[in-house]
């Protein structure tokens, strides 16, 4: 399990553009970080670099475990949830089938998927095809996978955007529980998160 994240002197390039350089960051267990910054500042790129989808131009990403550093591949294959604008839910599948696949693929079980659906008030929607869900319902379905399969580091890109205030409150509560259990959260946000967080503001270099 990941108990710490260290970014060392990280620089990321997209095409010809250097988004940022010299980024150093340490995140420990039970800590949350809110990434802010203008559009194009590199919030999504930073999340994807931590997830290993983008190779950093300079510097490195390290994951700490209980007994020293973890292999990045191992840490990523069993310790990271990445939820971006694309949620990977196939619009033709039923909500339950899609969620169950995502949960099992990321290491959860059918029982934990059921429990997550109860928590997020999704039970009535499970028989519907994903394309029939509203944006808010669909986002709740995507969030269910975070709750259902326990992974320490949540990388979230605008997780709250389509949710109404009541659900935001609920999700804030779930994030709080994740942190209390020793998890970590990095979220790219425009609005403040309903939990105590550190802030990192990315500015154009």
């Amino acid at each position: 399990m990941i108990t710490g994240l260290h970014l060392e002197n990280l620089a990321i390039r997209r095409g010809e553009r250097l988004l940022f350089a010299g980024l150093c960051l340490d995140l420990g267990a039970s800590e949350a970080l809110a990434l802010t910054g203008a559009n194009g500042a590199g919030k999504t790129s930073l999340l994807r670099a931590i997830a290993g989808l983008i190779a950093p131009h300079e510097g490195c990403v390290r994951f700490a475990g209980a007994k020293g550093d973890l292999e990045p591949e191992d840490a990523r294959s069993s310790g990271i949830h990445l939820l971006g604008h694309q949620d990977g839910l196939k619009s033709a599948g039923t909500a339950w089938d899609e969620l169950l696949f995502q949960v099992r693929w990321t290491g959860g079980s059918e029982a934990s998927a059921r429990a997550a659906c109860r928590l997020l008030d999704l039970e009535r929607l499970l028989g519907l095809e994903v394309r029939k869900l509203s944006a808010g319902q669909r986002r709740r379905l995507a969030l269910a996978r975070l709750v259902a399969s326990p992974r320490a580091l949540w990388l979230l890109d605008e997780p709250m955007a389509p949710l109404d205030s009541e659900r935001r409150h609920l999700f804030g509560h779930l994030m709080g529980e994740h942190l209390a259990a020793g998890g970590m959260i990095i979220a790219a946000v425009h609005d403040p998160l309903p939990i105590p967080v550190r802030r990192l503001d990315l500015v154009f270099s």
């Binding site: 095409g15 010809e16 553009r17 154009f204």
Partner: protein
Amino acid sequence: MFQALANPQRFMAFSRWAAPLLAVIAAGLLSWGLWLSFSAPEDYQQGATVRLMFIHVPAAYMAMFCYACLGAASLMGLVFRHVLADAAARACAPLGAGFTALALITGMLWGRPMWGTWWVWDARVTSVLVLFLFYIGYMALQAAIDDETRATRASGILALVGLINLPIVKFSVDWWNTLHQPASVFRKGGPSLPPEFLWPLGVMALAYMALFGALWLVRIRAEVWRKRAQSLALQAAG
């Protein structure tokens, strides 16, 4: 030398005199080769058409040689992620496609008097045609992806896949040829070629090679400048 040239600045300084030098060598070899080609005696079987060999066979060599260069540059680009290797791969493909097209066209013009037909589905011809399609696919892939880094890497992977696949294509086509055309009409040159033919062939092959070297350097220079212009334009905008 490789290490030294990996630095773009040093490469630019080197290619600044190397490219013209190679061009001069190419021009000299080309004139010599052409003179040799046209003063060579006629072949007792092929007659005057033997002269077509001197411009056709080197083009076919170059078609394969360029692919080897493309594959090597792509491998370096993928492994070391070096800008110059990427530039070299990009610069190589159009030249390779040009030589391959040349080999096909002059091959057709040679085939008509030799075999009495413009096109023969001979093993060698078919392999070169597949090679040509490969170059086209490589350039099409590169052109179709907007992000340049990604396009270069994707086409680099394709070049490596092709490098593994082309010998298989060659083998399969040879095998297919023995199945369908037991007796080859192709009177191949090779060691049995008399020296009066070997000389023009060799000189022309060297001339093509030098020309390719010069043009490759020029095109890599163009790629380096293009990259530089792009980053300058971006700096000016931001």
